[in-house]
């Protein structure tokens, strides 16, 4: 649980990093209502100065994320942070394809499925952790890409899926997309 001043722009809006611009717009308006001067939710728990501060942060967040170039730059800066070893999830806990016989044979859907099953992780639990529907996770493993909502989302789904299996999200995403599309 991070201190409120250290939240990413996505965490500030309570959206996933692959949120659509429609979802971002909706979350921004929700945030303005939450931290508005007459908000019932903020009554007696978030003071006036903090609400003003939050509304400023929400405005700046909205401007950055609704601008494709601004969002791409921000996303790059985020993944730069992710490469730094974090105490909670050190980078060396992820494994690559066939690394020391620990990873999956390849990053193709059926191999990922076999690997996941060998780890004893259910799709239901991945779905619970990532909020991605089980049907979408099944589509990833069967490489039934027509059942998925589009390449933009697929990339986000793959990264989240990789994290649940402690696999390198970038490597998995790159190879999966190269081999299955």
């Amino acid at each position: 649980m991070k201190p409120v001043d250290e939240l990413t722009l996505y965490e500030l809006l309570n959206v996933e990093p692959w949120a659509s611009s429609g979802e971002i717009r909706k979350a921004y308006h929700m945030g303005l209502a939450t931290y508005g001067p007459n908000s019932i939710a903020a009554h007696n728990i978030v003071d006036e100065d903090e609400r003003t501060n939050m509304r400023r942060r929400l405005d700046a967040t909205y401007r950055t994320l609704m601008d494709p170039e601004g969002r791409a730059t921000y996303d790059r800066s985020l993944s730069g942070h992710a490469e730094e070893p974090a105490p909670a999830a050190p980078a060396d806990t992820t494994v690559g394809k066939s690394a020391a016989g620990k990873g999956p044979r390849s990053f193709r859907g059926p191999d990922l499925k076999r690997y996941r099953e060998a780890l004893g992780i259910s799709l239901k639990s991945i779905s619970y952790d990532t909020k991605i529907k089980v049907s979408h996770l099944e589509a990833i493993e069967t490489e039934n890409l027509a059942d998925l909502p589009g390449p933009f989302f697929l990339r986000g789904f793959l990264k989240a899926y990789a994290s649940c299996l402690k696999l390198d999200p970038d490597e998995l995403t790159r190879e999966y997309l190269q081999s299955s599309t």
Partner: protein, 319 residues
Amino acid sequence: MAGPEAQPTPQDMKSIWAIGGGKGGTGKSFMTASLGIQLAQLGRRTIIVDADLGAANLHTCLGVKSPKVTLADFLSRTVSSLEDLLLDTSVEGLQFISAARDSFELANPAFQQKQRMINHIKRLPAEFIIVDIGGGSGFNAVDFFLCATTGIMLANPEPTSVENTYRFLKSAILRKLYRVADGRQLKETIREALAQADGQEIKTIQDLIHQVRPYNGVVAERLEEALRDFRPFLILNQARRKDDVDLGRSIEDIARKYLGVEVRYVGAVPYDEKVHYAVKQFKPLLIEYPSSQAAASIEAITRTLLGMTESRAVAAQES
């Protein structure tokens, strides 16, 4: 109508849902009765317990005018087991335990009495046990809430009720934190961490943990773990407008950012005159007005809660 036979259920199969939330009069007894009826109608064997000690009225929401045995008999040891207090209801698969017949002793049970009651609640023979813990943020209410497998807060979309919801959350967090770290050690660590804060503002519980971490990593880790495990649900009752319904999302957001707690908002029950009519007729809403708007939203909320509690149980087993 006779209820199902009392067959012991393995304790690990049991779900205990506690309904609380800080403020009286938000509709906790109504919601407890409604969730119980809905679960029983979905074929899940359920017992509802009125633990709103001193202000019990669950029996009225169920249409039982004067229960023959109540918690007072258990606390005075007239009966030795909570199971002896089970009363059948008009709904198949649903039994309840009343706390009517108020007494000072019932409203203010001693610590051992409360613990004995909690232990007996956990052994009740049903798949679902729903406990109405009443209003207030005192230790009695909070302890019942924390012993449940699922804590559900009920609030109205009004400033007074929302304010008390946060008060209840803070009280539950503190109680939980004091349980995980030895009270004296925790106080000492927090005092010293605050002394080291050196003018830095401590706005939230996360800020506090952040400040405690370099000073005492073990305590910080235990506090963080206790916060992670505490994921209460929220239902809003008597929503009149869309912004009343949206309020639940705003409470989730503020609880996450400023209290460090993942509250899950599972829906709002609309304001519906049928609720008032049902109570005046001493009849449960779901029996008397099953096609009302409020009844439809209660069915949706029950199904959501069922799905979420079951997936949490699966996740807990897998981890």
